[in-house]
């Protein structure tokens, strides 16, 4: 399978990576080449093979439902690029939630 520029543009949008001029062509070449190497995966017979769900057998530990105080507003905001009155601030949402 090859990767086209449209594919790269689509994927960059899904991943919210702003590509600059020339980036599209650059990444298309490289990703296409890498995928070329990876395509050998299709040679393997995987018909009766289960996908790895967890590589090491682990007992799933569930947590007891006990509350502990949070780290607090100040710490939560300590690395915020923009904040006001205890909130994180972002440019306005113009789209609706999915």
């Amino acid at each position: 399978m090859t990767l086209s520029r449209d594919d790269v543009r689509h994927v960059a949008l899904l991943a919210r990576l702003g590509l600059g001029e020339g980036d599209e062509a650059y990444y298309t070449d490289q990703l296409d080449s890498i995928l070329g190497h990876i395509d050998r995966l299709s040679e393997v017979d995987v018909d009766s093979v289960p996908a790895t769900a967890q590589v090491v057998a682990l007992e799933h530990r569930l947590r007891t439902d006990e509350a502990r105080p949070g780290m607090g507003q100040e710490r939560a905001l300590s690395n915020a690029p923009a904040s006001r009155e205890g909130f994180f601030v972002v440019p306005a949402i113009l789209e609706e939630e999915p």
């Binding site: 967890q54 530990r61 439902d65 949070g70 972002v90 789209e95 939630e97 999915p98």
Partner: protein
């Protein structure tokens, strides 16, 4: 609402905030409504680099319990998956949810005559809250993010499109809420976001087998809005199709103020959630013994209880239905009933006045009223005093001499006093003005400080005035 040759097809998606102390994947408290913004946060629910999730056992338990109460099969092998998309109220850039192995599936809820099939019940985490700077969206250049709610455990219940009217849809939501409250999974109040309802609505002509294009209704904040929104949307779609138009598949919000649904800006690009199994959480194996233990904790469900109350105590469908909306309320009813309180007055009292009394006190109160020892207004006062002081109603009545005056002899004395006090009213009545009776009754009431048994007084007064 649909006209004769149109059928509506409705499916419901309900999100329920589970009644846990801590969040779904971290130990932060769940009381987000009472906290300043971003107070109940930690590296995990903030999505900080390096943080990891650990699943809340009680949340899993409540979903199992809910699934069982809804008649579903429980998946003994289940897992979490990542749902990937970008939004400021989603700290990690993905939501931990369940994709192809939900905890419960394949159940049903009886709503009136209809069995509404439940497709699936799964567990996921809630997002944070967004507020817009400024009063309205237009002109706001910034949005404000509060992550107190991010990470709360959320249960999603999806139904098959088995409903065909706004009435049914509302009844389904009401029944669901009653079930959730009865089993203690959630308080399920729509008004504070504990129960969030979305409806998928489409219409088709009776003779068509194929389903029409459906729209998704959101932003519904009460059962009443749900009923109105669905009703309006059905009309809108029928109107559109009858005029030769087409229904567009889209999300529509309900505006209570304008009483109409409106198109929510369709996406500029389709979202692809790229679901894959959550690598930070090993798959879950639910022990059958554990599931059985949970099943044993499920009390009598609302529908069964309602039918039993109707049959055993001759309660009407409406009264019984109101009682079972809340398991605690129905428990109180049955307990007070067992102590001798008459059924219908007791039911009315509970539904009408929401008493916060223990069963013995409530029984005492209702018996006092139904025997005529005190009237309704006095009873409200007694109830308030009993609630705040903890004294029994009988004690309160005895101590404050609130007992009704019901004895004929006592009332006769009172009446004679009032007739002397209000000669004009007597004259008016004798002159044929029936409404003067009202003035005399008011006089009796006031003279007795509200304690007169007005029914008896009315009878005696009428007799007296004949003479």
């Amino acid at each position: 609402m649909a006209s004769e040759n149109w059928r509506a097809v409705i499916g419901m998606e309900v999100h329920v905030q589970l009644a846990t102390q801590s969040k779904m994947f971290c130990a932060c408290p769940t009381d987000y409504l009472e906290q300043p913004p971003n107070q109940n946060t930690c590296p995990t629910c903030l999505g900080l680099p390096g943080a990891l999730p650990v699943a809340n056992r009680r949340a899993v338990e409540l979903v199992v319990k809910s699934g069982l109460a809804l008649g579903c099969q429980i998946a003994l092998q289940t897992k979490f998956d990542r749902k990937n998309y970008f939004y400021p109220d989603l700290p990690k850039g993905y939501q931990i949810s369940q994709y192809d192995l939900p905890i419960a599936s394949g159940g049903g809820v009886q709503v009136g005559e209809r069995m509404v099939r439940i497709t699936r019940v799964h567990l996921e985490e809630d997002t944070g809250k967004l507020a817009h700077a400024g009063d309205n969206l237009q002109g706001a250049s910034e949005s404000l993010v509060d992550l107190n709610r991010a990470g709360l455990p959320l249960m999603e219940i999806v139904s098959e499109p088995d409903l065909d009217s706004a009435d049914q849809a509302r009844d389904y939501a009401v029944e669901l809420r009653a079930i959730l409250r009865t089993i203690g999974a959630s308080e399920a109040e729509m008004e504070n976001g504990q129960l969030r309802v979305e409806a998928n609505v489409s219409v088709r002509r009776s003779e068509d087998a194929a389903l029409g294009v459906k729209t998704e209704l959101k932003n519904i904040n009460s059962f009443r809005s749900l009923h109105r929104a669905i009703g309006h949307e059905i009309e809108r779609q029928i109107g559109l199709l009858e005029a030769g138009g087409v229904v567009i598949q889209e999300t529509r919000g309900w505006s209570e103020a304008k009483s109409q649904t409106y198109s929510q800006r369709s996406k500029e690009f389709a979202e692809d959630y790229r679901y894959f199994p959550e690598p930070d959480l090993p798959p879950l194996e639910l022990a059958p013994a554990w599931v059985a233990k949970i099943a044993a904790t499920i009390p009598e469900l609302p529908r069964a209880r309602r039918l039993r109350l109707m049959e055993s105590h001759q309660l009407g469908d409406y009264d019984a239905g109101l009682l079972v909306q809340d398991g605690a309320r129905a428990d109180l009813f049955e307990a007070a009933l067992a102590l001798g309180a008459p059924a219908k007055p007791l039911a009315n009292w509970i539904v009408g006045h929401a008493p916060k009394l223990p069963a013995p006190d409530l029984a005492e109160l209702v018996i006092l009223v139904s025997e005529g020892r005190i009237n309704r207004e006095q009873a409200l006062v007694v109830m308030a005093r009993a609630e705040s002081s903890g004294q029994s109603p009988a004690q309160i009545v005895a101590e404050s001499n609130l007992a009704q005056v019901s004895d004929d002899a006592d009332l006769a004395v009172l009446i004679d006093q009032v007739l002397v006090l209000l000669p004009q009213a007597v004259a008016d009545y004798r002159a044929g003005k029936a409404q003067a009776m009202g003035a005399l009754m008011a006089g009796i009431k006031s003279a007795s400080q509200g304690r007169a048994n007005m029914k008896a007084a009315s009878r005696l007064l009428a007799e007296r005035l004949q003479r």
